[in-house]
């Protein structure tokens, strides 16, 4: 039997998606369903003086209008930040209340003020226009760089500071800098991004008063986690009577991790009106109110000795957290960021300070990469700058500073189990034909184009995460994953996972693991997820964890099945369990020609007493049935790494940058399905190149989002990219039984510095992301006028 693991198995789920037979939240319609329209704040910051709902209530088709007062009266809890960060003065982070509907103030454009529930969507929208809110507008705090010096948005949160986080040894790092041979410095801005999943958020609250059951259909990456948050902290409904279903979900990228105000409101309001309530975001609502990503202002300094070895690293960051502290917003710029600033380099000491500030903008939270792209950007940009300043080749400078021995305890947090950084760098140099870059540069010059090359040798920490570790540093939950592998009597298998697939291809990848483990044909394996009524509690999908953590739980559950199967087989074959081997679906008694297939064992487990040769096929003390559950808690993070090399051509006349060549060599540990991994890399690269060259969210001074549609927010498209050259090197992870490290975020993490290093190499001057044509043109012009002046 050929191994399924490692094969390009076609995605089992594609047929339904490609033929329009997927079932998304907005495809679900319930009997007696009503429609919700949210009244949103047009101001970035204002006091609510009065909300007059009288006219709206009288409008055609209106069932009910709720405001923040109605929710407050019921003592419904607000939305929470799930990770407590402690500031350097030992005090806990400060977060404002985040009521699902605003109580007395609104704090960003799009903030939720009231909800109109009506018989039709049109009725709801028309009535929403009639909700008359009197605001007292206040000066909006928009720029994170100015937030600490501006007046307080929330009473008691001085300097608008959520926390002042530090990591590393300051004294030792200061010493490293004072004895440094050279110090390289950079000021960087990591631009704010809007996630833009293809499917906008949606939810349906459905309360049945006769049974007291509440169901929430929602576009979630982690339905169990949403239920926990809404139940334990929102107090919306007890967990055992609360079902959360995340059916087919069209992309998340982090933005669908969080339980949002709309989820809380439709779930709660459905109980009030005892009818289902449906809400589907319009694209403009997604722009305004989905959590955004990134938005850091960073100063980074690198200390070098005379041999161009790195001796220290210092990072100061202001992270924009937006108007409220969303679920993962506090861990993203701290523990997912600060430990990763070291990259793949052997750096003896480092110090990182992150000040997270509130502003009157949409909440900022985890977005594909979450903290790691920000960290990778700063280290890969300054490494590139350092190599240039000391006159060393980019590859050589990196090799000179790589971590070469594993496991490697970094000076900040992580103990990296495995890797081979020279291997992927060398492979990338070869594939990208690095040695002939100069010829390509001259060729571009003949067309009037400036060609540049950029490196990114990145490290990420995935497989999030060992529960004991994360809970010791403030996590509100453990980050294990669950699985249940259930044989049906007829020999096919249902696999329940706590991970959630919204594009990742779990139905295929997980089935490949189970198929190989149990020797069952892939078409006889079904993967079930996304419903709290099916399968055990799971933590969901983010941080490239589904395979490393969720897949490992599945593998462990399969091991338990085999263990039980051996006992049953031994009994049926009249031998000892320790004498039974399991291979490719057969239980074989050693030194005999006697065997039972796993299908026969499953059948016997479900029909003991009905089965042939012996009276009961089950040995004493073995229960009927064949299903096993596993809760897998990883022993460490996993550490994917890789080398990306980007070449760009810059048009000197327009300043337009085109990525003309892109090579990615990644080490994701063991790969289950190379085709799915390629897709993940492509998608990540599109987002990473998008961040570097195209995507930007722009709030004007009054806090209006001026890039709130595809007319103004540049989503990259296929014609913006060259044909990507993708390859792998493999060092299996030692932290999980599959040896997998995670691949979902790599492209978005690695690409921005690779692209920007290439642009800067081409134009020989610094430029910030996104490197739009006009920005680059101005930089080229400035450089020329400086040259002329000199």
């Amino acid at each position: 039997m050929t191994s399924l693991v490692g094969s390009r198995v076609e995605r089992k789920e594609d047929k339904k998606f490609l033929t329009g037979k997927g079932r998304y939240t907005s495809d679900i319609n319930l009997v007696h369903q009503t429609y919700a329209c949210f009244v949103r704040s047009p101001h970035a910051r204002a006091k609510i003086v009065k909300i007059d709902i009288e006219k709206a209530l009288k409008a055609p088709g209106v069932v009910k209008v709720f405001t923040g007062d109605d929710i407050a009266k019921e003592k419904i809890g607000g939305l929470i930040a799930g990770w407590k960060i402690v500031s350097q003065d030992g005090k806990d982070m400060k977060v404002p209340d985040h009521p699902p509907l605003a109580k007395s103030s609104v704090n960003y454009v799009g903030d939720h003020v009231a909800v109109v529930i009506a018989e039709t969507l049109e009725n709801a929208k028309n009535a929403a226009d009639l909700v008359n809110v009197s605001y007292k507008a206040m000066k909006a705090i928009v720029d994170p760089g100015e937030s600490m010096d501006s007046d307080e948005i929330y009473e008691g949160i001085e300097q608008n500071l959520c926390f002042d986080f530090v990591l590393g040894d300051k004294g030792k790092t200061d010493d490293a800098f004072s004895s440094a041979d050279k110090v390289i410095e950079l000021d960087l801005r990591n631009n704010r991004l809007i996630p833009n999943a293809m499917e906008p958020r949606a939810c349906i609250g459905d309360y049945n008063s006769s049974t007291d059951d509440l169901t929430l259909y929602t576009t979630s990456q982690n339905p169990h986690l949403s239920r926990l948050v809404l139940s334990a902290f929102g107090g919306i409904h007890p967990e055992h009577k609360f079902r959360v279903v995340a059916p087919d979900v069209g992309g998340g990228f982090g933005s669908k991790i969080y339980a949002y105000a709309e989820d809380a409101v439709v779930a709660w309001a459905s109980k009030k009106i005892e009818r289902p309530i449906k809400w589907v975001a319009e694209r403009s609502e997604s722009f305004l109110s989905d959590c955004h990503g990134r938005d850091h202002i960073t100063n980074v300094k690198l200390a070098l000795d005379k041999d161009n070895k790195i001796t220290g690293l210092k990072v100061n960051t202001i992270a924009n957290i937006g108007a409220y502290a969303s679920l993962f917003s506090t861990v993203t710029p701290t523990y997912l960021y600060a430990p990763l600033i070291l990259g793949v380099y052997d750096i003896p000491t480092a110090f990182c300070n992150v000040k997270a500030v509130f502003t009157n903008t949409a909440p900022v939270d985890a977005y594909r990469g979450a903290g790691r792209p920000e960290a990778t950007y700063l280290i890969e940009r300054i490494i590139s700058k350092a190599a240039k300043e000391v006159g060393m080749d980019q590859a050589e400078f990196r090799k000179n500073n790589f971590i070469n021995k594993f496991p490697h305890q970094q000076c900040l947090v992580h103990n990296i189990d495995s890797g081979d950084y020279r291997a992927h760098l060398d492979k990338a140099l070869e594939i990208s034909d690095y040695k002939n870059f100069k010829n390509r540069k001259s060729e571009s010059a003949t067309k009037g184009k400036l060609r540049g090359i950029g490196f990114s040798t990145y490290l990420e920490a995935c497989g999030i995460a060992p529960s004991a570790v994360v809970m010791s540093i403030g996590a509100g939950v453990g980050l294990w994953e669950s699985a249940e592998v259930r044989f049906n009597a007829t020999g096919n298998v249902s696999v329940f996972t706590g991970a959630h697939s919204h594009g990742q291809g779990h139905a295929t990848t997980f089935a490949q693991i189970v198929g190989d483990k149990l020797g069952v044909a892939i078409e006889n394996i079904d993967v079930i997820h996304g419903d709290t009524d099916k399968g055990p509690f799971g933590m969901g999908t983010y941080g490239s964890r589904s395979l490393a953590v969720g897949g490992s739980a599945i593998a462990k559950a399969c091991d338990k099945i085999i263990e039980k199967g051996k006992k049953v087989a031994a009994h049926m074959l009249e031998g000892k369990a320790e004498d039974v081997d399991f291979k490719e679906g057969d239980f074989i008694l050693k030194n005999s020609n006697k065997k039972k297939t796993i299908g026969e064992i499953a059948f016997a487990c479900y029909l003991p007493g009905q089965y042939g040769e012996v009276k009961s096929p089950l040995p004493e003390g073995i229960e009927p049935g064949l299903k096993e559950t596993s809760f897998y808690d990883p022993v460490n993070f996993s550490f994917p790494a890789g080398t990306h090399i980007c070449e760009v051509e810059v048009d000197q006349d327009s300043g337009e940058t085109k990525v003309v060549k892109y090579t990615a060599v990644d080490d994701f540990g063991t790969i289950i399905n190379p085709m799915i991994v390629e897709g993940q890399v492509h998608g990540g690269l599109a987002q990473g190149i998008g961040q570097a060259l195209y995507e930007n969210s722009h709030y004007d001074k009054s806090g209006q989002l001026t890039t709130a549609s595809y007319m103004d927010y540049t989503m990259p498209r296929a014609d913006n990219f060259p044909h990507f050259k993708i390859d792998y090197t493999t060092t299996p992870a030692t932290s999980n039984p599959l040896g997998s490290k995670g691949c979902g975020e790599a492209g978005a993490i690695a690409a921005p510095p690779a692209v920007m290093n290439a642009v800067i190499d081409a134009i020989e001057t610094e430029v910030s992301m996104p490197a739009t044509a006009e920005k680059v043109w101005k930089k080229i012009k400035e450089k020329h006028s400086k040259k002329e002046a000199a």
Partner: protein, 261 residues
């Protein structure tokens, strides 16, 4: 979207009869439908004119190419007559929006809307087009009045656009990377008696560049653009491009158009 009555007209007379102060014509709907959905516009009647055969089609003579108002962009870009008589016009049509827009959007809809960054208005101005409506004929120079403003009266319907065939012409645009509308689009047309240059995307309405027309009339070559210093006065400045950049890109696109000529 607010509720409206949907009516279809079979001929121009019927369309005209159905129209009122609270109605709008629907051709390709590529701008109208999003505006309705976003509630930026609302009408009590939407009158479908897509079924009016007389408004569709392309006719070429030795002097002009006449294109019916509900002719789709893709029909213009694929038209043998257009490619032969005014190839630059086919190039322009091929670069509008995306395939979905080109398969639905119409030339009449585009110029009636007069988006300051739309492509077609520049072709109308540069190619000295005559706009035929159900009540008048008007030159492009007089048709485009300002931002989203034309000299069409309420209920007036464009029937066809008649482009003069130049000796040479070319269109070059620098698209907004988000919307792919023109940040700057430059249409240059050389006639026996004059050179006409129309600019879209850069100002609040399509306009003719006297600077470029004069320079190219004196010497119809790319080099005559080199020493021009296009003023950024009155040009748009927004999150996508400053007036200074737009002024610069007028030169760059004008040179590109000359190279493509």
């Amino acid at each position: 979207m607010k509720t409206f009555n949907f009516k279809s007209a079979n001929n121009i007379k019927e369309a005209s009869k159905l129209s009122s102060s609270r109605s709008t014509f629907l051709a390709g709907g590529m701008t109208l439908i999003p505006a309705l959905k976003l509630r930026l516009a609302a009408y009590s009647e939407v009158i479908n004119i897509k079924g009016i055969k007389k408004l569709s089609g392309i006719k070429a003579s030795s002097k002009s190419v006449k294109i019916g108002s509900i002719t789709k962009h893709v029909e213009v870009s694929n038209s043998k007559e257009v490619k032969k008589s005014i190839p630059s016009l086919a190039v322009l049509a091929e670069g509008i929006g995306d395939p979905q827009v080109r398969n639905r959007g119409t030339i009449g809809g585009s110029i009636a809307n007069n988006d300051p960054a739309a492509d077609y208005p520049s072709a109308c101005m540069a190619l000295n087009a005559t706009i035929h409506t159900n009540i008048k004929k008007v030159t492009a120079d007089k048709f485009f009045k300002g931002m989203f403003e034309t000299n069409l009266k309420k209920g007036e319907l464009i029937e066809a656009i008649e482009f003069q065939i130049p000796e040479k012409s070319a269109y070059a645009k620098y698209p907004n990377p988000a919307s792919r509308y023109a940040i700057v689009g430059v249409y240059i047309a050389k006639f026996k008696t004059e050179v006409r240059v129309a600019i879209t995307g850069a100002g609040n309405c399509v306009f003719r560049s006297k600077e470029l027309e004069t320079a190219l009339s004196n010497n119809f070559s790319s080099s005559s653009i080199d020493n021009l210093n296009i003023s950024s006065k009155d040009l748009n400045s927004d999150i996508h491009a400053s007036a200074e950049y737009r002024a610069h890109m007028i030169e760059v696109m004008a040179k590109k158009a000359m190279e493509n000529m």
